[in-house]
């Protein structure tokens, strides 16, 4: 209340003295004021409740708290809970809240691989075929994963893109270019794609046509 009175007095003074433009300054300074702190988190799960810890971590992630999420993933991963090991693996691959440690990340993902999880097979094949770190690249293993995926389900645009990247990593550039062209056609058919994604696919096609592999 006191601060409101103050503000009204300041605003009125400024207007009466012809310094209306000063209000902009006041407004800008006011906007720098931080928002009040958020409420505390929900109570944490029990020490041995791995599934509870996993769910808690997922909820932290949904609330936009990646650091708290990886903290709990790490706890339940060290308890041997596979979904946690998997998520932790992804976190180390990507960096950020877990810190960047792609070697460890890849090893955790390999350890927690579910051979029937199409998404994971695709991700692992992609990492192993396109990693910027040459010591991490393993095109043969990537090929095995993508073949496993092919035997299990029909490839969509994304996994066809991976198939092309694997072929390029193995040095089969003509095949990579052919498969990448198919991926682009599928992507266009699937619809609802962003322009950026299409551009990326096309850039990769150009790389393969120039006998170069793609890394990231």
């Amino acid at each position: 209340m006191k601060s409101l009175t103050c503000l009204i007095a300041v605003a009125a003074t400024l207007l009466l003295t012809g310094c209306g433009s000063d209000l902009l300054v006041v407004q800008r300074l006011q906007s720098l004021k931080p928002e009040p702190q958020q409420a505390a988190d929900a109570p944490a799960p029990d020490v041995d409740d791995w599934q509870g810890q996993f769910e808690f971590a997922e909820s932290m992630l949904e609330q936009g708290k990646p650091l708290a999420a990886v903290h709990w993933y790490s706890k339940c991963a060290n308890g041997g809970h596979l979904p946690c090991i998997r998520q932790l693996g992804y976190a180390y691959m990507q960096g950020g809240a877990a810190g960047h440690d792609p070697y460890l990340g890849l090893e955790l993902l390999t350890q927690s691989l579910d051979p029937e999880d199409a998404g994971m097979l695709n991700d692992l094949a992609w990492f192993l075929a396109t990693s910027k770190i040459s010591a991490l690249r393993d095109p043969e293993q990537a090929n095995e994963y993508i073949q496993q995926l092919q035997a299990m389900a029909t490839l969509d645009a994304m996994s066809t893109d991976t198939l092309a990247a694997v072929a390029a990593a193995l040095g089969n550039f003509a095949e990579a270019a052919k498969v990448q062209q198919q991926a682009i056609t599928m992507l266009l058919k699937e619809g609802e794609i962003g322009e950026d994604m299409l551009t990326d696919y096309r850039k990769r096609l150009q790389l393969y046509r120039n006998n170069r592999m793609y890394t990231e």
Binding site: S3, L108, Q111, A135
Partner: protein, 449 residues
């Protein structure tokens, strides 16, 4: 209908005007009233008024600032020239030496674990680079054996180029020289590294230049991390390393106070406040909006700002002494930038300035806490010769006993401190590819027969 006679009407108007004027007078006098300076503020101001860097301190400061001088130029003279150009307008016409081109040609970042396997195959190339670039090692040695650089407290360094990249590269080159020397004479190599670390710690504790302190913190963690990874990979070097690195036994805690940096920051802040008073906030802070004198009088309270800043800095020093435990440091480092309680509508300018200072302070706290913890845990691991069963259950950090945690799956050795930025904030990475334990247990509980 009642009518008011002319004299009465004028009297009423006069009363109304007088009342309005009195109200405005009270309101304005209240708005412009300044609080008193707190005792804390007076202490900080007294410290700020004492500061006069000695010639020796200036020499080290110029050595640091001119570290990237071309090979034919003296780093000290180059640094002095650079500084004068910044602070003395009369020197504006001075010609700066041409910036050096910087490229080493080491096979990879030798401090990175991934580089270690590459080193053996490239040791000849590393030796060639070391011979060719030896002048930079001499320059680094010259800087580190001098007094810790202390910047004058009247001028900010924002516009002065800080040779961060060159300094980092020289430290990297120094690690390459340790690797090369260790191949020939491990005892001597680690004795030299010990001396290097001793100087580094002295500089880290003594400098008042925030950018340099921050660089040294990074260098220290990189060097300790490299040391751990190196002896993991080359266990035959462990004995030479642990016996010659006496600094780890003698100074197992970094204990680098924030005081030198905060003293200078405070003095610089006061210099800014002086400029606000004399030149107006728009000029002093280089704002794109002009603030009228009246508004500045209403929303700028110098004493309140000084009090708030002195309080924040005193709190930071108090926290870093460890007297309140580690959790309050973590809480302060995460919550200070978002503190709305430091805001006052009667001191909007001061609140914004303090807010910015608190954000910087929070970064300093975070970095300091993480560096202290990393140095502590790496020193302990090396002292235990890499044998984790020999490690104590707790390690002392700022005089507080902190439990040591092992994250077996990720091969991390950590101090049990709430996280700040990342899962590895307070951890030593001991990860060796292909050696993570098989942690997986059945996700479904076993069925009772």
């Amino acid at each position: 209908m009642t009518t008011i006679s002319a004299p009465s009407r004028w009297r009423v108007i006069a009363w109304v005007v007088a009342t309005i004027l009195v109200i405005w007078g009270i309101a304005l006098s209240m708005l412009m009233r300044q609080p008193e300076l707190s005792e804390q503020s007076q202490q900080w101001l007294a410290k700020a008024n004492q500061s006069t860097p000695s010639e020796q301190e200036s020499m080290a400061f110029y050595l640091m600032l001119g570290f990237d001088a071309p090979s034919e130029a003296s780093p000290q003279a180059y640094g002095e020239q650079r500084w004068r150009m910044h602070v003395d307008l009369a020197e504006e016409g001075m010609k700066l030496a041409k910036a050096s081109t910087w490229r080493f040609g080491l096979p990879c970042y030798v401090s990175m674990q991934e580089c270690l396997p590459v080193i053996d195959a490239n040791i000849d190339r590393i030796n060639d680079v070391l011979t060719e670039k030896n002048a930079w090692l001499v320059r680094l040695q010259l800087l580190l054996t001098a007094e810790p650089p202390k910047a004058p407290e009247q001028h900010i360094m924002d516009n002065v180029p800080f040779p961060k990249q060159q300094l980092s590269s020289a430290f990297e080159l120094h690690l390459a020289s340790v690797i090369s020397a260790a191949e020939k004479d491990p005892e001597q190599a680690f004795a030299d590294l010990n001396e290097h670390l001793e100087h580094l710690l002295v500089h880290l504790r003594g400098t008042n230049v925030t950018a340099y302190r921050s660089l040294l913190q990074r260098v220290l963690t990189v060097e300790m991390g490299w040391l751990v990874a190196y002896v993991q990979q080359r266990p035959e070097m462990l004995h030479a390393a642990t016996t010659n690195l006496t600094v780890l036994q003698q100074q197992p805690e970094l204990a680098a106070s924030l005081e030198p940096v905060l003293d200078r920051n405070f003095a610089l802040a006061v210099a800014t406040f002086d400029r606000i008073d004399s030149e107006g906030v728009s000029t002093a802070l280089d704002w794109d909006l002009t603030v009228s004198e009246l508004l500045q009088r209403i929303i700028w309270q110098r004493h309140a700002t000084v009090n708030s800043l002195a309080q924040g800095y005193s709190d930071a020093l108090q926290l870093m002494s460890g007297s309140q435990g580690l959790v309050p440091i973590v809480n302060a480092a995460t919550s200070w930038p978002g503190l709305s309680s430091t805001w006052s509508d009667r001191n909007l300018i001061g609140s914004a300035l303090v807010q910015e200072k608190l954000e910087q302070l929070s970064r300093l706290l975070k970095k300091s806490l993480m560096t202290e913890a990393y140095y502590r845990i790496a020193a302990a691991w090396l002292q235990a010769k890499g044998n984790q069963s020999q490690l104590p259950e707790k390690l002392s950090l700022f005089g507080i006993d902190v439990p040591v945690l092992q994250r077996e799956l990720e091969q991390r050795l950590c101090l049990d401190v709430p996280l700040l930025e990342s899962l590895d904030d307070f951890c030593l990475r001991l990860y060796q590819p292909g050696q993570i334990p098989e942690m997986a247990i059945p996700d479904d509980p076993p069925v009772a027969l």
